[in-house]
């Protein structure tokens, strides 16, 4: 691999031990995946934040990197943590968990990483442009950045994204090259898509069928998807099938389809069957929205629904802290909280320790949450569009 003078200095340890370790990892990954050089990235999003997912081993690793003096070179921010940093106690997060979680965040802060813990950085002003190279690692953010924004990122892991943040570069391979951004599956949809949860459901089905490949959707009959819909679609495909990139005809900035692409049609019958299969219970202990983290327009919609009929059960709406602050300034947060909703920042239903908080049945409108809640939180599911789950 050809390295620039600056990259070679990092590798030789002349810019400190932290940069050296990070560059060693990037060079090894470059070798493994056949990169011939590094490419500068404009931002990094680092997964491996919740104590629930990385445990003591991950905490040890982060302390180790911080102790080596590693500092980030580019704007860098985090995936959701295991709890709301400000109101963890009120939400019922166990104290032993909170202590470990704060240690993890402290290690990241020591390295110069911004304490924005969100899977939707593009909603809080970190919105890369078409063709911009980035190193992101949360699967739904990767999908949104690649597909809807037309930026370029591989599916980074926590350590590789952290190393990219520390060195400001990433190995040039995979989805950084246009020749690899080609769909191998054409998807026609012969079903009604009336809301976000339908797009999530569609994503679950297509993710399973695409098997790590890149799907290209023909225009959706009768539906003009907005960014919230596409966020749900991409998140579900990433969760059920590790899909890092997809195209939608006439919507996404890119559209490249292989001549040999297979074509499939998703029917209403399949959608109905998939929805039925997800529903294991008909009432829930907690309702969780905001997977991926909710936008202001989603909060407006939720607030209007709650205005008509408040909720009695615990309702979490997971958001980036910056969105919560904006919602407070708009008076939206107060309206939602008055009618029973809780705006939960920095975390989400999947990486928070729900299973240790007495919850057994969770209602969701998100395909992605439906994939992870049973395995990561031992929850039984109630799945449907918002109006179907808010008052169950």
């Amino acid at each position: 691999m050809e390295l620039t003078t600056n990259e070679q200095l990092m590798l030789n340890g002349e810019m400190g031990q932290g940069k050296q370790k990070a560059m060693e990892i990037l060079v090894a990954l470059g070798k493994i995946y056949g990169a011939n050089k590094m490419i500068p990235v404009t931002s990094a999003q680092i997964a491996g934040v919740s104590y629930k997912t990385i445990g003591d081993a991950g905490l040890g690793y982060l302390k180790h990197m911080a102790a080596l003096g590693a500092k980030v070179e580019i704007p860098s921010f985090l995936n959701p943590a295991g709890m709301d940093i400000e109101q963890w106690e009120a939400l019922g997060i166990p104290q032993d968990f909170a202590i470990k979680q704060m240690e993890i965040l402290d290690a990241y802060a020591t390295m110069g990483i911004k304490m924005s813990c969100t899977c939707t950085p593009y909603l809080i002003g970190i919105k890369p442009k078409v063709g911009e190279h980035i190193a992101w690692s949360e699967s739904s953010a990767i999908s949104f950045a690649n597909s809807v924004l037309g930026a370029k990122t591989n599916r980074e892991g926590g350590p590789s994204a952290l190393c990219a943040a520390i060195c400001g570069v990433t190995p040039y391979y995979g989805l950084h090259l246009d020749e690899n951004r080609v769909a191998n599956l054409i998807v026609k949809v012969d079903a009604k898509l009336t809301n976000r949860s339908d797009f999530g459901l569609l994503g679950l089905i297509v993710g399973k069928k695409s098997n790590g490949g890149i799907p290209a959707f023909k225009t959706f009959p009768g539906a003009r998807p907005n960014e919230n819909d596409l966020k749900y679609l991409g998140a579900a495909m990433a969760a059920s099938g590790s899909v890092p990139l997809y195209f939608v005809e006439k919507f996404t900035p890119e559209w490249r389809v292989s001549k040999d692409a297979e074509q499939i049609t998703i029917t209403q019958k399949e959608m109905d069957k998939a929805k039925k299969a997800l529903n294991e219970v008909d009432t829930a202990d907690i309702i969780t929205l905001g997977c991926p983290h909710a936008s202001i327009s989603e909060l407006v919609e939720i607030s209007q629904l709650l205005e008509k009929k408040p909720v009695k059960k615990t309702l979490w709406i997971c958001v980036a802290r910056e969105i919560k602050i904006k919602a407070q300034e708009m008076g939206l947060a107060q309206k939602i909280e008055k009618n029973g909703g809780k705006l939960v920042a920095d975390t989400c239903m999947v990486v928070a320790p729900l299973e240790r908080m007495g919850y057994k049945r969770t209602a969701v409108d998100s395909g992605k949450a439906a994939v992870y809640l049973p395995t990561m939180c031992q929850q039984k599911l109630l799945f449907g569009k918002i109006e179907e789950i808010l008052w169950k």
């Binding site: 003591d56 081993a57 991950g58 180790h64 350590p159």
Partner: protein, 132 residues
């Protein structure tokens, strides 16, 4: 006998070979306090990786496995060197942060010439595996 390989993580070590023809997941399947493989039905189940030159095809499972390798190193129960058929991210990252010498893509099929207990030398500065 000298076998040429690709350097993934630099360093130098000597030790006894412990060989698995099956991929290995570290998270949940290796005890980071003892270095013992606990995955049910795995060919290495019950065996300790501590101090061994661990030869296996590749990593699998959770990416948190990289951190488990570092935890083993800090507890003094990590392998002294790693040989993979073809490296992937989990083991490569784990080896580098833990400063465990690692080679992959050796130019001879090591599974046919090595067996458990063989004494070998891994020179991961030059990319050479020396077999006595």
């Amino acid at each position: 006998m000298e076998i040429i390989g690709r350097v993934i993580s630099k360093g130098h070590a000597r030790g006894e070979v412990l060989l698995s023809r099956e991929p290995l997941s570290f998270l949940g399947n290796v005890n980071p306090k003892t270095g013992i493989v606990v995955e049910k039905g795995h060919p290495l189940e019950g065996k300790s990786l501590a101090g061994k030159v661990l030869v296996f095809p590749r990593g699998k499972g959770s990416t948190v496995g990289s951190y488990v390798i570092l935890e083993m190193k800090q507890n003094g129960v990590a392998p002294v060197a790693i040989i993979n058929q073809e490296a992937e991210t989990i083991i490569a990252v784990g080896a580098i942060i833990s400063e465990i010498p690692m080679l992959d893509k050796l130019d001879v099929d090591v599974f046919s010439i090595l067996k458990d207990g063989d004494l070998v030398e891994v020179d991961a500065n030059k990319g050479i595996l020396r077999v006595k």
